[in-house]
């Protein structure tokens, strides 16, 4: 290589330098193009996210105007391990809420998707109806459900479902009532995800199972569900995150001002927002929001760890 034509060397160097310079120019252009998005994320996501960790280390003064006091992890321990700010109760309520919402909305979503996965006349109308909840606003849906559950003019009381105290102020029924509305709201997305999954299953495999003698029940549980498991897993993760973040409907259906202590609807995010807006306690709110973040992250990682090994990918 060292002896092959001295004259060829410069041209080879030019040839290799050209593409490298072009690549560098292209890279620069690429960074330039993503800059606006990065800037927006930095300002509205990364900065608040990291600043939140800083806020959690400072105690908010009891009187506005005084400087915040650095307390380190002391505040976090106090919030998380005592009942001073209702954190343990909120945590339990959040978990109960997620357990109420996620499995039911996944099951109903899957059921509706299977029911709508046929070539029937007018099935498109049903598909549109089933998926419509995903486009309706939380606020509108909450107002509608609030009206349905209204003890005087509501539909449920008209049906005879009218406990005392009324549904949304009833210690037993308030959380399930909000859960029902949340299930309804998530159903559209659950239905869409499940439908998309079903449509990607090859018909031939289910036909093979029919010829092999499998009943509709067996085909569903032994063929459809296992093959749909990646989809179900995805819906489970999305649904769990969605349920962890449910706030609007609770806030609208059960305003914080009227919240009796025994009404267990004080989910974490609700507690965070109210600690911030009603008590102006930035430090405590920061601690609880980090706790919610860690909880969501942990649950998602756990789901991935334990469920993904049972999920059947690949054909």
């Amino acid at each position: 290589m060292t002896t092959t034509g001295v004259a060829a060397a410069p041209s080879r160097r030019r040839a290799s330098a050209g593409p490298r310079r072009r690549r560098r120019r292209e890279a620069a252009l690429g960074y330039l193009l993503v800059l606006p998005a990065v800037a927006a994320f930095a300002i509205f996501v990364f900065y608040p996210f990291f600043n939140n960790f800083r806020l959690a280390l400072y105690q908010t003064p009891p009187v506005p105007g005084l400087p915040s006091r650095y307390v380190g992890l002391h505040q976090a321990g106090h919030v998380l391990f005592s009942n001073a700010y209702g954190f343990p109760g909120s945590l339990l309520t959040t978990i109960v809420f997620v357990v109420l919402v996620v499995p039911v909305s996944l099951l109903i979503g899957l059921g509706l998707a299977v029911a709508a996965h046929r070539r029937l006349r007018g099935i498109g109308v049903y598909r549109m109806i089933f998926s419509s909840t995903v486009v309706s606003s939380v606020a509108v849906a909450a107002l509608v459900f609030g009206t349905l559950m209204n003890p005087v003019v509501g539909f449920l009381p008209w049906l005879g479902i009218n406990p005392t105290p009324p549904l949304l102020q009833n210690p037993t029924w308030a959380l399930p009532a909000v859960a029902v509305m949340t299930i309804w709201q998530f159903l559209g997305l659950s239905f869409i995800i499940m439908s998309a999954g079903l449509q990607s299953l090859p018909d031939e495999i289910l036909e093979a199972a029919r010829i092999d003698g499998a009943s509709a029940w067996t085909r569903f549980w032994r063929i459809t569900v296992p093959m749909l498991s990646p989809t179900i897993f995805f819906a489970l993760v999305v649904g769990t995150i969605y349920a962890f973040q449910s706030f609007g409907q609770i806030d609208i259906l059960i305003p914080f001002r009227n919240l009796p202590a025994n009404l267990h609807v004080n989910v974490l995010i609700y507690n965070v927002v109210n600690t911030l807006t009603q008590e102006n306690n930035t430090g405590v709110a920061a601690v609880m929001s980090i706790a919610l973040f860690v909880l969501t992250l942990l649950v998602t990682l756990l789901q991935m760890r334990f469920l993904e090994s049972r999920v059947h990918y690949g054909r």
Partner: protein, 362 residues
């Protein structure tokens, strides 16, 4: 074991007729190939036997029973799909076991049957693998194993070889034939590949546009095609079809075609009209490049296939002719004007109007 009978079977999708008044019997133990171009209704016909499609008219029987309203699982048929349709989440062993399990067969018996079939098809080393970890040929054998493990009355095979590479296809073709021969199970085999049909079928049923064209053993289908469609579809390359006009002025019979005349035997029932429009059909092996030939043509391509060569030429009116010759015979040059001799014994005549073959006289 059972016969399968289509009786006036019709299947419509809206205005489209996929299968049109099909009547066909598959004899007990026979391997019958349904052959036709894509969209000819052959797969639909197969799915009708499986019970995956409902009939618009007619009856379908398996054994002695009409099965029109019987569920696929109760028809005692097994199907091999083009895509194999293996259960991706189950191991090979569980895939083969699946139909047995649905029949409530006892566990030990099932294991014995799965092992027996796996050994028969050389699948023992792969029993604990998932389908995704197998090659195309192995998956294909799993699909076959799943079909034969429960000894059904009828095998239904929907282009089972079309996803395999050429060498494996030839091998598997032979394997399926010997397997079917050994098991003696009535088999309905769908393909668009006429070589596959010729080599595998006891009989071949040719379909076009949902209409049955001809049912016959391969050799008869090749030698005596019922119409121009069958003549052109079968054979590789298919039969040469040259439009012409009958000429009986000289006492005998000749057909005037573009660039010459073709002598024909008068053994067939010739049309009453002395100058009727007829189509001359000749297999490529019935044509010879010969300076004394009666038809002039121009060579367009010469394809060399090793043992033989195909001389592709065109007549004056643009009709394409393929001449098959031994590779030892000198080949003409491209663009050369040649004469073609036609063996009168190799000529099949078709009525141009209806496309039907003119029958031989007794």
């Amino acid at each position: 074991m059972a016969q399968v009978i289509f009786d006036g079977v019709t299947k419509r999708y809206g205005d489209v007729v996929a299968v049109d008044d099909l009547s066909l019997s598959i004899v007990d133990g026979e391997l019958l190939v349904l052959l036709g171009p894509s969209g000819c209704g052959k797969t639909t016909a197969l799915r009708i036997v499986a019970g995956l499609e409902e009939l618009s008219a007619g009856t379908i029987s398996i054994g002695d029973a009409v099965v029109n309203d019987i569920d696929p699982k109760d028809r005692d048929v097994a199907m091999v799909f083009q895509s194999y349709a293996l259960y991706p989440h189950l191991t090979v062993a569980r895939n083969i076991d699946f139909p047995l399990r649905q029949r409530g067969i006892e566990r030990d018996e099932r294991a014995r049957m799965v092992n027996e079939v796996a050994t028969m098809l050389g699948l023992d080393p792969y029993l604990e693998r998932k389908p995704a970890q197998l090659s195309g040929g192995q998956r294909q054998r799993v699909a076959l194993a799943r079909a034969i493990v429960r000894s059904p009355q009828v095998f239904l095979m929907d282009e089972p070889l079309s996803n395999l590479d050429a060498a494996l296809r030839v091998q598997t073709r032979a394997d399926i034939v010997s397997l079917q021969d050994r098991l003696g199970t009535t088999t309905l085999y769908v393909t668009h590949d006429q070589v596959e049909a010729m080599t595998m079928g006891d009989r071949i049923a040719v379909l076009n546009h949902g209409v049955l064209q001809q049912v016959a053993p391969p050799q008869e289908l090749y030698a005596l095609p019922a119409n121009v469609f069958v003549a052109g579809f079968l054979g590789s390359p298919g039969m040469n079809l040259v439009p012409g006009r009958l000429d009986r002025s000289a006492g005998g019979a000749t057909v005037a075609v573009s660039g010459g005349t073709v002598e024909v035997h008068t053994r067939v029932h010739l049309p009453a009209d002395p100058d009727a429009a007829v189509t001359v059909g000749v297999r490529p092996e019935g044509l010879f490049v010969d300076p004394h030939g009666a038809v002039g043509a121009t060579v367009t391509i010469v394809e060399m296939l090793g043992a033989e060569a195909h001389v592709i030429c065109t007549l004056a009116d643009g009709t394409r002719l393929v001449v098959r010759q031994e590779s030892t015979v000198p080949r003409p040059a491209i663009g050369e004007a040649i004469k073609i001799r036609i063996d009168p014994d190799a000529v099949t005549l078709f009525d141009t109007a209806g496309g039907k073959r003119l029958e031989e006289r007794e």
